[in-house]
Protein backbone atom coordinates (compact mmCIF):
# COMPACT_ATOMS: atom_id res chain seq x y z
CA UNK A 1 0.00 0.00 0.00
CA UNK A 2 1.43 3.36 -0.85
CA UNK A 3 1.03 6.62 0.98
CA UNK A 4 -0.65 9.05 -1.35
CA UNK A 5 0.36 12.65 -1.04
CA UNK A 6 -1.76 15.60 -2.07
CA UNK A 7 -0.74 17.38 -5.19
CA UNK A 8 0.72 20.74 -4.27
CA UNK A 9 -0.65 23.58 -6.32
CA UNK A 10 0.96 26.93 -6.70
CA UNK A 11 -0.79 29.55 -4.60
CA UNK A 12 -2.88 31.86 -6.71
CA UNK A 13 -3.91 34.35 -4.04
CA UNK A 14 -2.26 36.98 -1.97
CA UNK A 15 -0.63 35.52 1.15
CA UNK A 16 -1.30 37.40 4.32
CA UNK A 17 -1.09 34.71 6.97
CA UNK A 18 -1.31 35.74 10.60
CA UNK A 19 -0.44 32.25 11.83
CA UNK A 20 3.03 30.87 12.08
CA UNK A 21 2.61 27.10 12.42
CA UNK A 22 1.18 24.32 14.58
CA UNK A 23 1.95 23.45 18.18
CA UNK A 24 1.12 20.41 20.32
CA UNK A 25 -1.41 21.30 23.01
CA UNK A 26 0.18 18.74 25.34
CA UNK A 27 3.97 18.84 24.97
CA UNK A 28 4.47 22.07 23.01
CA UNK A 29 6.35 20.48 20.07
CA UNK A 30 6.14 22.73 16.99
CA UNK A 31 5.31 21.81 13.41
CA UNK A 32 4.87 23.44 10.02
CA UNK A 33 1.30 24.36 9.05
CA UNK A 34 0.70 21.24 6.95
CA UNK A 35 -2.11 18.68 6.85
CA UNK A 36 -1.25 16.99 10.14
CA UNK A 37 -3.34 16.83 13.29
CA UNK A 38 -1.47 14.97 16.02
CA UNK A 39 1.90 15.39 17.63
CA UNK A 40 4.45 12.83 16.48
CA UNK A 41 5.98 12.76 19.96
CA UNK A 42 2.95 12.28 22.22
CA UNK A 43 -0.15 12.14 19.96
CA UNK A 44 -1.56 15.30 21.57
CA UNK A 45 -3.76 17.46 19.32
CA UNK A 46 -2.06 20.20 17.29
CA UNK A 47 -3.26 23.80 17.47
CA UNK A 48 -2.61 26.76 15.22
CA UNK A 49 -0.17 29.37 16.53
CA UNK A 50 -0.86 33.05 15.75
CA UNK A 51 1.24 36.17 15.97
CA UNK A 52 -0.90 38.02 18.52
CA UNK A 53 1.45 41.01 18.70
CA UNK A 54 0.89 41.60 14.98
CA UNK A 55 -2.86 41.11 15.40
CA UNK A 56 -2.95 43.66 18.22
CA UNK A 57 -1.28 46.19 15.93
CA UNK A 58 -3.55 45.65 12.94
CA UNK A 59 -7.02 44.52 14.04
CA UNK A 60 -9.55 46.98 15.45
CA UNK A 61 -13.30 46.92 16.06
CA UNK A 62 -13.66 49.19 13.03
CA UNK A 63 -11.56 46.95 10.78
CA UNK A 64 -13.72 43.98 11.74
CA UNK A 65 -16.96 45.90 11.20
CA UNK A 66 -15.74 47.00 7.76
CA UNK A 67 -15.35 43.33 6.76
CA UNK A 68 -17.92 41.05 5.14
CA UNK A 69 -21.13 40.08 6.93
CA UNK A 70 -19.81 36.55 7.51
CA UNK A 71 -17.20 34.69 9.57
CA UNK A 72 -14.56 36.15 7.25
CA UNK A 73 -14.79 39.53 8.99
CA UNK A 74 -12.55 37.72 11.53
CA UNK A 75 -10.13 36.40 8.89
CA UNK A 76 -6.96 37.56 10.72
CA UNK A 77 -7.95 35.16 13.55
CA UNK A 78 -8.49 32.22 11.18
CA UNK A 79 -5.78 29.86 9.83
CA UNK A 80 -5.89 30.67 6.13
CA UNK A 81 -3.48 32.56 3.91
CA UNK A 82 -5.72 33.66 1.08
CA UNK A 83 -7.55 36.96 0.87
CA UNK A 84 -10.34 35.24 -1.05
CA UNK A 85 -11.59 32.43 1.21
CA UNK A 86 -14.66 30.33 0.42
CA UNK A 87 -17.42 32.70 1.55
CA UNK A 88 -20.94 31.32 1.22
CA UNK A 89 -22.40 33.76 3.72
CA UNK A 90 -21.54 31.60 6.72
CA UNK A 91 -21.86 33.16 10.17
CA UNK A 92 -23.19 36.42 11.60
CA UNK A 93 -26.31 34.52 12.67
CA UNK A 94 -28.81 36.28 14.96
CA UNK A 95 -28.16 36.79 18.66
CA UNK A 96 -31.70 36.95 19.92
CA UNK A 97 -32.73 38.29 23.32
CA UNK A 98 -34.96 35.46 24.53
CA UNK A 99 -37.30 37.30 26.88
CA UNK A 100 -40.22 34.86 26.78
CA UNK A 101 -38.00 31.83 27.42
CA UNK A 102 -36.19 33.74 30.16
CA UNK A 103 -39.49 34.61 31.89
CA UNK A 104 -40.66 31.02 31.62
CA UNK A 105 -37.46 29.83 33.29
CA UNK A 106 -37.28 32.64 35.83
CA UNK A 107 -34.12 34.39 34.71
CA UNK A 108 -33.63 37.91 33.33
CA UNK A 109 -30.99 38.29 30.61
CA UNK A 110 -30.95 35.35 28.25
CA UNK A 111 -29.69 35.35 24.67
CA UNK A 112 -29.91 32.66 22.00
CA UNK A 113 -27.10 32.45 19.44
CA UNK A 114 -29.12 30.96 16.62
CA UNK A 115 -27.00 28.81 14.30
CA UNK A 116 -30.13 26.88 13.33
CA UNK A 117 -30.20 29.48 10.53
CA UNK A 118 -26.52 29.40 9.66
CA UNK A 119 -25.72 29.29 5.94
CA UNK A 120 -25.63 27.28 3.77
CA UNK A 121 -26.74 24.09 5.61
CA UNK A 122 -28.38 25.29 8.83
CA UNK A 123 -25.86 24.28 11.46
CA UNK A 124 -22.68 25.63 13.08
CA UNK A 125 -20.69 23.14 10.99
CA UNK A 126 -20.72 25.58 8.07
CA UNK A 127 -18.26 27.68 10.09
CA UNK A 128 -15.68 24.93 10.56
CA UNK A 129 -16.10 23.58 7.04
CA UNK A 130 -15.68 27.01 5.39
CA UNK A 131 -12.33 27.31 7.15
CA UNK A 132 -11.27 23.68 6.57
CA UNK A 133 -12.03 23.69 2.83
CA UNK A 134 -10.38 27.06 2.29
CA UNK A 135 -7.27 25.61 3.93
CA UNK A 136 -7.68 22.33 2.00
CA UNK A 137 -7.45 24.26 -1.27
CA UNK A 138 -4.39 26.11 -0.02
CA UNK A 139 -2.72 22.80 0.85
CA UNK A 140 -3.47 21.45 -2.61
CA UNK A 141 -6.18 18.86 -1.90
CA UNK A 142 -8.63 18.08 -4.66
CA UNK A 143 -10.75 15.59 -2.65
CA UNK A 144 -12.21 16.32 0.78
CA UNK A 145 -13.85 13.96 3.22
CA UNK A 146 -15.19 13.62 6.76
CA UNK A 147 -16.72 11.31 9.34
CA UNK A 148 -20.02 12.79 10.42
CA UNK A 149 -23.07 12.48 12.65
CA UNK A 150 -24.98 14.32 9.89
CA UNK A 151 -24.52 18.06 10.09
CA UNK A 152 -20.86 17.92 9.12
CA UNK A 153 -21.76 15.69 6.16
CA UNK A 154 -24.35 18.24 4.96
CA UNK A 155 -21.90 21.08 5.28
CA UNK A 156 -18.85 19.36 3.75
CA UNK A 157 -20.88 18.14 0.74
CA UNK A 158 -22.49 21.56 0.16
CA UNK A 159 -19.39 23.71 0.50
CA UNK A 160 -17.27 21.22 -1.49
CA UNK A 161 -19.85 21.51 -4.28
CA UNK A 162 -19.58 25.29 -4.18
CA UNK A 163 -15.78 25.16 -4.18
CA UNK A 164 -15.57 22.52 -6.95
CA UNK A 165 -13.88 19.90 -4.75
CA UNK A 166 -14.45 16.14 -5.00
CA UNK A 167 -16.18 14.89 -1.87
CA UNK A 168 -16.59 11.54 -0.09
CA UNK A 169 -18.33 11.51 3.30
CA UNK A 170 -18.89 8.77 5.88
CA UNK A 171 -21.91 8.58 8.20
CA UNK A 172 -23.45 5.98 10.53
CA UNK A 173 -26.17 4.14 8.56
CA UNK A 174 -28.95 4.95 11.08
CA UNK A 175 -28.98 8.75 10.64
CA UNK A 176 -32.16 10.81 10.33
CA UNK A 177 -33.62 10.92 6.79
CA UNK A 178 -33.25 14.71 6.57
CA UNK A 179 -29.53 14.52 7.20
CA UNK A 180 -29.02 11.77 4.61
CA UNK A 181 -31.06 13.54 1.92
CA UNK A 182 -29.48 16.86 2.88
CA UNK A 183 -26.11 15.34 2.00
CA UNK A 184 -27.04 13.34 -1.12
CA UNK A 185 -28.52 16.38 -2.84
CA UNK A 186 -25.01 17.80 -3.35
CA UNK A 187 -23.90 14.57 -5.12
CA UNK A 188 -20.92 13.54 -3.00
CA UNK A 189 -19.99 9.87 -2.61
CA UNK A 190 -21.84 9.00 0.60
CA UNK A 191 -20.72 5.97 2.61
CA UNK A 192 -23.34 4.83 5.16
CA UNK A 193 -21.41 2.62 7.58
CA UNK A 194 -23.01 -0.11 9.71
CA UNK A 195 -21.78 1.14 13.06
CA UNK A 196 -21.88 4.12 15.41
CA UNK A 197 -20.03 7.40 14.91
CA UNK A 198 -16.96 6.25 16.82
CA UNK A 199 -16.65 3.28 14.48
CA UNK A 200 -17.10 5.55 11.45
CA UNK A 201 -14.35 7.78 12.83
CA UNK A 202 -11.99 4.86 13.26
CA UNK A 203 -12.65 3.72 9.71
CA UNK A 204 -11.98 7.22 8.39
CA UNK A 205 -8.67 7.38 10.24
CA UNK A 206 -7.69 4.14 8.54
CA UNK A 207 -8.77 5.52 5.14
CA UNK A 208 -6.82 8.72 5.86
CA UNK A 209 -3.67 6.64 6.43
CA UNK A 210 -3.75 5.34 2.89
CA UNK A 211 -5.62 7.96 0.82
CA UNK A 212 -4.25 11.44 0.35
CA UNK A 213 -7.55 13.18 0.97
CA UNK A 214 -8.26 16.20 3.11
CA UNK A 215 -10.37 14.89 5.99
CA UNK A 216 -11.82 18.00 7.58
CA UNK A 217 -11.97 16.48 11.08
CA UNK A 218 -8.80 14.39 10.83
CA UNK A 219 -5.73 15.73 9.02
CA UNK A 220 -7.31 19.21 8.60
CA UNK A 221 -8.59 19.26 12.19
CA UNK A 222 -6.26 22.02 13.49
CA UNK A 223 -7.70 24.40 10.85
CA UNK A 224 -11.27 23.07 10.91
CA UNK A 225 -11.74 23.40 14.65
CA UNK A 226 -10.61 27.05 14.60
CA UNK A 227 -13.80 27.92 12.71
CA UNK A 228 -15.81 27.44 15.92
CA UNK A 229 -14.01 30.41 17.48
CA UNK A 230 -16.22 32.65 15.35
CA UNK A 231 -19.14 31.67 17.62
CA UNK A 232 -17.24 33.41 20.39
CA UNK A 233 -16.24 36.47 18.34
CA UNK A 234 -19.76 37.06 17.03
CA UNK A 235 -21.38 36.90 20.45
CA UNK A 236 -18.83 39.35 21.85
CA UNK A 237 -19.39 41.75 18.94
CA UNK A 238 -23.19 41.37 19.02
CA UNK A 239 -23.27 42.07 22.76
CA UNK A 240 -21.65 45.44 21.99
CA UNK A 241 -18.02 44.26 22.37
CA UNK A 242 -18.61 42.66 25.74
CA UNK A 243 -18.37 39.12 27.01
CA UNK A 244 -21.38 37.39 28.62
CA UNK A 245 -21.33 36.05 32.20
CA UNK A 246 -22.33 32.50 31.40
CA UNK A 247 -22.33 30.29 28.30
CA UNK A 248 -24.35 27.09 27.85
CA UNK A 249 -23.39 24.96 24.83
CA UNK A 250 -23.80 21.37 23.66
CA UNK A 251 -20.95 18.87 24.03
CA UNK A 252 -20.23 16.14 21.50
CA UNK A 253 -16.46 15.92 20.93
CA UNK A 254 -15.98 18.96 23.18
CA UNK A 255 -14.26 20.98 20.46
CA UNK A 256 -16.93 23.69 19.95
CA UNK A 257 -17.09 24.38 23.69
CA UNK A 258 -13.34 24.94 24.05
CA UNK A 259 -13.12 27.04 20.88
CA UNK A 260 -15.82 29.49 22.04
CA UNK A 261 -13.63 30.04 25.08
CA UNK A 262 -10.55 30.45 22.90
CA UNK A 263 -12.41 33.04 20.80
CA UNK A 264 -13.25 35.10 23.90
CA UNK A 265 -9.67 34.82 25.18
CA UNK A 266 -8.20 35.97 21.88
CA UNK A 267 -10.44 39.05 21.79
CA UNK A 268 -9.26 39.90 25.31
CA UNK A 269 -5.62 39.27 24.36
CA UNK A 270 -5.66 41.71 21.43
CA UNK A 271 -7.66 44.34 23.34
CA UNK A 272 -11.01 44.10 21.50
CA UNK A 273 -13.01 43.39 24.68
CA UNK A 274 -12.43 43.85 28.40
CA UNK A 275 -11.41 40.77 30.37
CA UNK A 276 -14.13 39.11 32.38
CA UNK A 277 -14.64 35.68 33.91
CA UNK A 278 -17.16 33.74 31.84
CA UNK A 279 -18.66 30.53 33.20
CA UNK A 280 -18.87 27.64 30.72
CA UNK A 281 -21.56 24.99 31.15
CA UNK A 282 -21.96 22.01 28.83
CA UNK A 283 -24.95 19.92 27.76
CA UNK A 284 -25.02 16.20 26.95
CA UNK A 285 -27.71 13.63 26.30
CA UNK A 286 -27.99 11.01 29.03
CA UNK A 287 -27.70 8.23 26.44
CA UNK A 288 -24.24 9.50 25.51
CA UNK A 289 -22.77 11.51 28.35
CA UNK A 290 -19.14 10.48 28.91
CA UNK A 291 -18.08 14.07 29.74
CA UNK A 292 -21.02 14.71 32.10
CA UNK A 293 -20.32 11.42 33.88
CA UNK A 294 -16.67 12.34 34.38
CA UNK A 295 -17.75 15.76 35.71
CA UNK A 296 -20.27 14.20 38.10
CA UNK A 297 -17.74 11.69 39.38
CA UNK A 298 -15.02 14.33 39.62
CA UNK A 299 -12.71 12.35 37.34
CA UNK A 300 -9.99 13.93 35.20
CA UNK A 301 -10.29 11.31 32.45
CA UNK A 302 -13.09 10.27 30.11
CA UNK A 303 -14.33 6.67 29.89
CA UNK A 304 -15.84 6.02 26.47
CA UNK A 305 -19.48 4.89 26.20
CA UNK A 306 -21.69 3.29 23.55
CA UNK A 307 -24.23 5.92 22.46
CA UNK A 308 -27.97 5.33 22.73
CA UNK A 309 -29.88 8.60 22.36
CA UNK A 310 -32.14 10.48 19.97
CA UNK A 311 -29.57 13.30 20.00
CA UNK A 312 -27.55 11.68 17.22
CA UNK A 313 -25.54 14.80 16.44
CA UNK A 314 -24.15 14.60 20.00
CA UNK A 315 -23.67 10.82 19.95
CA UNK A 316 -19.90 10.67 20.24
CA UNK A 317 -18.99 8.05 22.83
CA UNK A 318 -15.24 8.71 22.67
CA UNK A 319 -14.92 12.52 22.62
CA UNK A 320 -11.48 13.68 21.45
CA UNK A 321 -11.62 17.01 23.28
CA UNK A 322 -13.56 15.68 26.27
CA UNK A 323 -10.77 16.24 28.79
CA UNK A 324 -10.35 19.84 27.65
CA UNK A 325 -14.10 20.50 27.92
CA UNK A 326 -14.09 18.96 31.40
CA UNK A 327 -11.18 21.11 32.45
CA UNK A 328 -12.84 24.26 31.07
CA UNK A 329 -16.09 23.67 32.98
CA UNK A 330 -14.08 23.16 36.20
CA UNK A 331 -11.79 26.15 35.84
CA UNK A 332 -14.58 28.59 34.93
CA UNK A 333 -16.87 27.38 37.73
CA UNK A 334 -19.39 26.02 35.23
CA UNK A 335 -21.25 22.72 35.12
CA UNK A 336 -21.80 19.78 32.79
CA UNK A 337 -25.24 18.22 32.91
CA UNK A 338 -27.13 15.58 30.98
CA UNK A 339 -30.84 15.14 30.17
CA UNK A 340 -32.90 12.21 28.96
CA UNK A 341 -34.68 11.85 25.60
CA UNK A 342 -38.05 13.03 26.96
CA UNK A 343 -36.43 16.16 28.39
CA UNK A 344 -34.72 16.75 25.02
CA UNK A 345 -38.06 16.65 23.19
CA UNK A 346 -39.56 18.98 25.81
CA UNK A 347 -36.57 21.30 25.29
CA UNK A 348 -37.15 21.44 21.53
CA UNK A 349 -40.83 22.29 22.11
CA UNK A 350 -40.09 24.86 24.80
CA UNK A 351 -37.72 26.81 22.54
CA UNK A 352 -40.17 26.64 19.63
CA UNK A 353 -43.17 27.76 21.72
CA UNK A 354 -41.41 30.61 23.51
CA UNK A 355 -39.01 31.96 20.89
CA UNK A 356 -40.12 30.69 17.49
CA UNK A 357 -36.95 28.70 16.91
CA UNK A 358 -37.17 25.10 15.71
CA UNK A 359 -33.95 23.38 16.75
CA UNK A 360 -32.75 19.83 16.36
CA UNK A 361 -32.11 17.36 19.17
CA UNK A 362 -28.75 18.94 20.11
CA UNK A 363 -30.55 22.25 20.71
CA UNK A 364 -33.26 20.46 22.69
CA UNK A 365 -30.52 18.97 24.85
CA UNK A 366 -29.00 22.40 25.45
CA UNK A 367 -32.32 24.05 26.35
CA UNK A 368 -33.23 21.15 28.66
CA UNK A 369 -29.87 21.45 30.41
CA UNK A 370 -30.33 25.23 30.70
CA UNK A 371 -33.69 24.58 32.41
CA UNK A 372 -32.12 22.01 34.72
CA UNK A 373 -29.31 24.38 35.68
CA UNK A 374 -31.76 27.22 36.41
CA UNK A 375 -33.91 24.91 38.55
CA UNK A 376 -30.84 23.79 40.48
CA UNK A 377 -29.87 27.41 41.15
CA UNK A 378 -26.73 27.07 39.03
CA UNK A 379 -27.55 30.07 36.81
CA UNK A 380 -27.67 33.45 38.49
CA UNK A 381 -30.97 35.07 37.32
CA UNK A 382 -29.26 38.45 36.92
CA UNK A 383 -26.29 37.33 34.85
CA UNK A 384 -26.12 37.58 31.05
CA UNK A 385 -26.43 34.02 29.78
CA UNK A 386 -25.86 32.99 26.15
CA UNK A 387 -27.18 29.66 24.93
CA UNK A 388 -25.77 28.22 21.71
CA UNK A 389 -28.31 26.60 19.37
CA UNK A 390 -26.22 24.78 16.79
CA UNK A 391 -28.63 23.00 14.44
CA UNK A 392 -32.04 23.07 12.75
CA UNK A 393 -35.10 21.02 13.71
CA UNK A 394 -36.21 20.37 10.15
CA UNK A 395 -33.32 17.90 9.89
CA UNK A 396 -34.45 15.71 12.82
CA UNK A 397 -38.22 15.63 12.38
CA UNK A 398 -38.38 11.98 13.48
CA UNK A 399 -37.45 13.04 17.01
CA UNK A 400 -40.62 15.10 17.59
CA UNK A 401 -43.01 13.12 15.38
CA UNK A 402 -45.96 12.18 17.58
CA UNK A 403 -45.24 14.91 20.17
CA UNK A 404 -46.52 17.96 18.29
CA UNK A 405 -50.22 17.14 17.82
CA UNK A 406 -52.14 16.87 14.55
CA UNK A 407 -53.78 19.47 12.32
CA UNK A 408 -57.56 19.82 12.73
CA UNK A 409 -58.89 18.53 9.40
CA UNK A 410 -62.20 20.17 8.46
CA UNK A 411 -64.64 20.63 5.57
CA UNK A 412 -64.48 24.02 3.77
CA UNK A 413 -67.54 25.33 5.70
CA UNK A 414 -67.77 28.11 8.28
CA UNK A 415 -69.79 25.89 10.58
CA UNK A 416 -67.09 23.19 10.49
CA UNK A 417 -64.46 25.77 11.34
CA UNK A 418 -66.49 27.14 14.29
CA UNK A 419 -66.99 23.65 15.72
CA UNK A 420 -63.30 22.78 15.37
CA UNK A 421 -62.23 26.16 16.82
CA UNK A 422 -64.45 25.68 19.87
CA UNK A 423 -63.00 22.21 20.37
CA UNK A 424 -59.44 23.49 20.01
CA UNK A 425 -60.05 26.21 22.61
CA UNK A 426 -61.46 23.66 25.06
CA UNK A 427 -58.48 21.34 24.54
CA UNK A 428 -56.06 24.21 25.04
CA UNK A 429 -57.82 25.21 28.29
CA UNK A 430 -57.67 21.65 29.55
CA UNK A 431 -54.00 21.39 28.66
CA UNK A 432 -53.30 24.69 30.38
CA UNK A 433 -55.15 23.53 33.52
CA UNK A 434 -53.15 20.32 33.56
CA UNK A 435 -49.90 22.22 33.34
CA UNK A 436 -50.99 24.66 36.07
CA UNK A 437 -51.98 21.91 38.48
Amino acid sequence: MTQATPQTLAPTCARTATFTGLKCKECGAEYEAKAIHVCEECFGPLEVVYDYDALRQTVTRASIQAGPNSIWRYRPFLPVETDTPIDVGTGMTPLLQANRLARRLGIKKLYIKNDAVNMPTLSFKDRVVSVALTRAKELGFSTVSCASTGNLANSTAAIAAHAGLECCVFIPSDLEAGKVLGTLIYSPTLMAVHGNYDQVNRLCSEVANTHGWGFVNINLRPYYSEGSKTLGYEVAEQLGWELPDHVVAPLASGSLFTKIYKGFQEFVKVGLVADKSVRFSGAQAEGCSPIAQAFRENRDFISPVKPNTIAKSLAIGNPADGVYALDLAHKTNGNIESVNDQEIIAGIKLLAETEGIFTETAGGTTIAVLKKLVEAGKINPDETTVVYITGNGLKTQEAVQGYVGEPLTIEPKLEAFERAWERAQTLERLEWQQVSV
Binding site: G44, A147, Y224, S253
Partner: protein, 91 residues
Protein backbone atom coordinates in the same frame (compact mmCIF):
# COMPACT_ATOMS: atom_id res chain seq x y z
CA UNK B 1 0.64 -16.02 16.37
CA UNK B 2 0.33 -13.40 13.72
CA UNK B 3 -1.96 -10.38 13.90
CA UNK B 4 -2.39 -7.53 11.45
CA UNK B 5 -1.65 -4.05 12.82
CA UNK B 6 -2.86 -0.86 11.12
CA UNK B 7 -0.33 1.93 11.62
CA UNK B 8 -1.41 5.60 11.72
CA UNK B 9 0.41 8.05 9.45
CA UNK B 10 2.50 9.71 12.23
CA UNK B 11 4.05 6.30 13.08
CA UNK B 12 4.69 5.10 9.57
CA UNK B 13 8.20 6.53 9.58
CA UNK B 14 9.02 3.77 12.11
CA UNK B 15 7.49 1.09 9.88
CA UNK B 16 9.27 2.09 6.67
CA UNK B 17 6.11 3.84 5.42
CA UNK B 18 3.99 0.72 5.75
CA UNK B 19 0.38 1.43 6.76
CA UNK B 20 -0.18 -2.22 7.70
CA UNK B 21 2.21 -4.75 9.22
CA UNK B 22 2.15 -8.29 10.59
CA UNK B 23 3.22 -8.72 14.20
CA UNK B 24 2.72 -11.16 17.09
CA UNK B 25 1.71 -11.19 20.75
CA UNK B 26 -0.85 -12.85 23.00
CA UNK B 27 -2.13 -9.49 24.30
CA UNK B 28 -1.87 -5.78 23.52
CA UNK B 29 0.92 -5.45 26.10
CA UNK B 30 2.90 -8.26 24.45
CA UNK B 31 2.20 -6.82 21.02
CA UNK B 32 3.70 -3.47 22.11
CA UNK B 33 6.90 -5.22 23.19
CA UNK B 34 7.13 -7.11 19.91
CA UNK B 35 6.47 -3.89 17.94
CA UNK B 36 9.35 -2.27 19.81
CA UNK B 37 11.65 -5.16 18.86
CA UNK B 38 10.66 -4.95 15.20
CA UNK B 39 10.53 -1.15 14.98
CA UNK B 40 12.75 0.38 17.69
CA UNK B 41 11.44 3.64 19.15
CA UNK B 42 7.78 3.03 18.36
CA UNK B 43 6.73 2.07 21.90
CA UNK B 44 7.84 5.36 23.43
CA UNK B 45 5.41 7.11 21.08
CA UNK B 46 2.51 4.90 22.15
CA UNK B 47 3.20 4.75 25.91
CA UNK B 48 4.12 7.41 28.45
CA UNK B 49 7.09 7.28 30.84
CA UNK B 50 5.15 5.03 33.23
CA UNK B 51 4.46 2.56 30.43
CA UNK B 52 0.72 3.40 30.21
CA UNK B 53 -0.93 3.89 26.83
CA UNK B 54 -1.03 7.61 26.01
CA UNK B 55 -4.44 9.19 26.51
CA UNK B 56 -4.85 10.55 22.97
CA UNK B 57 -4.29 7.18 21.30
CA UNK B 58 -6.96 4.52 20.84
CA UNK B 59 -6.44 0.79 20.26
CA UNK B 60 -9.07 -1.35 18.58
CA UNK B 61 -9.14 -5.14 18.26
CA UNK B 62 -11.38 -6.28 15.42
CA UNK B 63 -13.09 -2.85 15.43
CA UNK B 64 -13.76 -2.82 19.21
CA UNK B 65 -12.12 -0.22 21.48
CA UNK B 66 -9.94 -2.12 23.98
CA UNK B 67 -11.42 0.01 26.78
CA UNK B 68 -14.64 -1.98 26.22
CA UNK B 69 -12.54 -5.21 26.37
CA UNK B 70 -9.69 -5.87 28.80
CA UNK B 71 -7.64 -2.75 28.10
CA UNK B 72 -3.92 -3.50 27.57
CA UNK B 73 -4.56 -7.09 28.76
CA UNK B 74 -6.98 -7.73 25.89
CA UNK B 75 -6.12 -11.15 24.44
CA UNK B 76 -5.12 -11.48 20.78
CA UNK B 77 -5.71 -14.46 18.53
CA UNK B 78 -4.16 -15.36 15.19
CA UNK B 79 -5.79 -13.39 12.40
CA UNK B 80 -7.00 -10.54 14.63
CA UNK B 81 -6.75 -6.99 13.31
CA UNK B 82 -5.39 -4.34 15.67
CA UNK B 83 -5.92 -0.71 14.70
CA UNK B 84 -4.00 2.15 16.29
CA UNK B 85 -5.91 5.40 15.89
CA UNK B 86 -5.14 8.88 17.25
CA UNK B 87 -8.11 10.75 18.76
CA UNK B 88 -10.26 12.47 16.12
CA UNK B 89 -12.35 15.64 16.32
CA UNK B 90 -16.13 15.47 16.33
CA UNK B 91 -18.59 15.73 13.54
Amino acid sequence: MSVKVLIPTPLQKFTRDQASIECSGGSITELLDQLEQDFPGIKARLCDEQGNLRRFINFYVNSEDIRFLDGPNTALNAGDEVSIVPAVAGG
